[in-house]
Amino acid sequence: MKIRLKNVRTVLVTIGLIGVLLFASPTISLLVKTPSGLKFSELYVLGPNHTFGNLPFNIVADVNYSVYLGVVNQMGSSCYYRSYVKIGNETGSLPNATLGTPSSLPALYEYNSLLVDGETWETPLTFEVNGLSFSGGISSIAGVTINGLEFPVNLTSAWDSKNSGYYYYLLVELWLFNSELDIPQYDNRYVSLFLNMTQ
């Protein structure tokens, strides 16, 4: 078997180039930043069994209802989240997903959570409607108890003949602390539970 000098040199040069690239790759990885993936946050509500089933809908006064609220950080770095719980009636404003603006309703209750990238945070959210009354096709609620704290609301809702009910909604908005601007900003994520008040 004949070995040509030129072939050996080609093989050695090839091995050399590949080896130099392999040895240089850790340094190259320090200098060249790979593009990061999609950055987003998740907000979800689950029923009392940690499923999408059995979410509260028909609500009776002074009965405690329980759901689970969750936030997932997929932003690529640690984040400081605030989840604001609001309650509204049929005429109350929902957040505007197109404009990215939050609901104008006042926040009754808030959660704070700081999550590292990829972390999931979940907490119980219990609520109870207080002072529910019905008169002349109008329902009214005097207050809402959230996680044991009572908040006055004084909301009314007329009978919805199309959907046969007195409808309110419980809203949770996700806000994110912007460390560059030093302010919390609405993250254009919200979940809402429609609640039908019953006697």
Binding site: I15, G16, L30, S77, Y80, E110, N112, L149, D182, P184
Partner: protein
Amino acid sequence: MAFSSYLYGGHFAFAQTDQTGSKLQAANSAVEQAFKAVLEAEKAGANVTSLLVQLNVAAGDLAQAENSYQAGDSNTAVVQADSVLPIAQSVTNSAQGAQQDALVSGQRTVWLTIAFSLIGASELVFALFLVWRRFQRRYMEKIPGLKPEVDENKA
């Protein structure tokens, strides 16, 4: 800044001028500053998981204080807001220390990586050069003993 953040948050349409409001603003600002320190430490390469666990306690207390205040229980809100400050301050200090350590460690890692690349690549090239020289020498030594070959088909 904490006050402005409440306005942006749409929380309160009025200024928090009472003592409870001031305490809440101070607690809120302390948690935000601590988070920024943690974020800087994370950017420098520090592991901030344990710092965030501590800061979550402070942030949870802050939320409870806000909720108590919203529910009209100012006394509880003050106590809860007061419990936020020492934790947030401790996290800020730890985060600043972790950031410094991470920066020093990061610099060392960069130099070690560059040294690894340079020394490794140089040694590989040198080793291949030696192999080439040895092979070339042996090849040259064999040439005088070789007989010329004649391709009969071409002859």
